[in-house]
Structure formats: structure tokens, C-alpha cells
Symmetry: C2
Subunit: 152 residues, 2 copies
DNA sequence: GCACACTCGACCTAAAAAGTCGAGAAAGTC
DNA sequence: GACTTTCTCGACTTTTTAGGTCGAGTGTGC
């Protein structure tokens, strides 16, 4: 139940692209320095985002990366899935395919519920939301709870 | 964003202990076979659960493992934390301690919201709930959504 | 005292995560 | 058309985690 560096980097780079607007391409190096990500690792991540159709790129002078879709139409879930695959898998299997023996039968439903709740955040927040700093109200409601900020 | 085999095993073993009741200790081997978990790996897990005070054990004939607290007072979150540490860390750091540069500032709030939502499931469900098969209504509400079952 | 079953450190392998290198190919500039 | 820039991408390295095994030891009950 942890978020990998790769996923975190991917979202941050995508936000940076979103912030740059539809204008001209942003160079990998600028993304790397502005978000403090190792350049060559970032290039791999951007390549994956490109392969998933989230990002486009051009080489050469005036080259760089840009979002393939408007920032308001790209969710955080899209970016995370592009680099990590399905969200909230259990033992690398989607929870709905797992058969639990006897007493643990209901455990599957718990993992399903967890996944649903993760999705309800990641699929609601778009890159445009992140750039503007205004998250959807359902998400703000969660961060408003003081309890959400307690380490545990 | 995945659930490790270890966490899954730990919860299943704990459920099995919960189902056994307060009576006599359950042998490691019985837990291993009933939930189909490699015995020696399971023993490590049970040892961790013991170190965290969730489980007690006795050696020798008539030995075995049992829950240190009533099943209704042990949540799935307790078990997962015992073997995996804090839930929903980003790059091994608790999200509230992370500083994001410039445009990515709000990303921290997203991870906080995700963690809050995961907790709201795992901290609500107890081992007793799992044994009885009746999950809290807030969790059942999530699994009732057909969308929750769709792979993505 | 003997068998049973947990204790626990040491070890192991495979895979994933995280990061690096370097050759090459497209795009623009002069 | 040479040159520079910047992405492309396979190969490789390193570190960490996941997942699992072994075996000597130790407490317990009979």
C-alpha cells in the first residue's frame, strides 16, 4: 500500500506539462530540474507516458514534451496507471479474480472497497485541478479532516 | 498502489485465528493449510504480529497462536500496519512530510486524501466482521456499486 | 526426558524499483 | 549539408523488497 517514486515523478512531470499550457513543448531537462527528478529516469517515464498516449514529443531544437489531451481531461489515475498498471492489485492480481478460502471469503470485498475508494480520489482529480490548486470538493472534504493529516 | 502477499497472508491468518474463538491456541500448520500459505513464511508473519502485540503464542504440545485482543477490537488496518508499516506512504515517506515544488504543490493533498480513504475502509473493518461476513454498511455501500467490480 | 511446536537469526533467490549509459534518429538552424 | 539539439530506446547496474527456506534452539506438556 505505497506509492512508488515512479508514479509520484510521473504525476509531477505531467502537472508541469499541464502548467506549461498548450503552447510550445517543454524540454525534459526543464521538467527534471523544476521537479527535481533524475533526468534519465524521467525520460523513461515520459516515454511510457508517450506510449500510453498521454503525452506527445518532438525531437531536436524546439523539441520537448506536451500533453496529448487538455489538462482538464487527464486524471491522476490515468497517469498512475500508465506507469504502474492497475491500481490496488493484491499479489499482482485484480481483487475481483481472487478466491479466498472459508473464513476469509469477505476479505475480497474489503480489497474491492479499498480500490473503489482510491479510485474515487484519483479518477476525480485532473491535472488542471492540480495546477489551479483547486481540488474537487469531494477530495477537499477529505483533506479538511484533521485526522487525515495524522501519521499512523 | 498494491497489496503485498505478506499483508494479504497476515490478514487471512488473523481471520482464521478470529474464527477459532478465544478457546485454545491454533497451530501454525493448521493456519498454513487452511489458508494455503507457505508455513515457514507464515511463521515469520505470525512472529511479527506477535511482536506488535496483536497475537500471542505458546510453544510445545498444545501450543499455537491466538489473538491478544477480541476479534471485534482488531481492525484490518492494525494487521496490515503490523507487517507493512504505515499505509499509503509515498516514496517511503508519510505524505504530510513531503514538500512539492511549485506547480505540484497540491499533489500532497491528493495523497493525503487517498490515504484517508484507504483508512476509512481498513480501520472500519474488524476481524469479527470478516468472520461473520457482515461488513460495516459504509463498506458494503462501496462494494454494492457495480463499478467497483470493474477491472481498470 | 521426550516429543511437539513456536522462536528467530541467517541465508537465499527472484523480481521490482530506481537509476545510468551510450548509440542513434529526428528536427531545426545556419 | 553540416551541426546542434533533444528525444528514443535498449542494455546495463545497483539497491531494495518480496517471498521463501533452513536449521539450531528453547519453552511446554505429558
Amino acid at each position: 500500500m505505497r506509492v512508488s517514486a515512479k508514479a509520484d515523478y510521473a504525476v509531477r512531470a505531467a502537472v508541469e506539462l499541464a502548467a506549461a499550457g498548450e503552447g510550445e513543448p517543454v524540454k525534459g531537462e526543464r521538467l527534471a530540474t523544476s521537479q527535481d527528478i533524475p533526468l534519465q529516469f524521467l525520460e523513461h517515464i515520459l516515454l511510457e507516458l508517450k506510449h500510453q498516449g498521454l503525452v506527445r514529443a518532438r525531437r531536436g531544437a524546439k523539441g520537448g514534451y506536451w500533453l496529448a489531451r487538455p489538462a482538464a481531461e487527464v486524471t491522476v489515475a490515468d497517469v498512475v496507471r500508465a506507469v504502474e498498471g492497475p491500481i490496488a492489485n493484491v499479489q499482482s492480481m485484480p481483487p475481483e479474480t481472487i478466491e479466498y478460502a472459508g473464513n476469509a471469503e469477505s476479505l475480497r470485498d474489503v480489497w474491492i472497497a479499498v480500490r473503489a475508494n482510491i479510485r474515487s480520489v484519483l479518477e476525480e482529480v485532473t491535472l488542471a485541478d492540480l495546477v489551479s490548486g483547486e481540488l474537487p470538493s469531494s477530495v477537499e472534504a477529505l483533506t479538511a479532516e484533521p485526522d487525515s493529516w495524522a501519521a499512523r
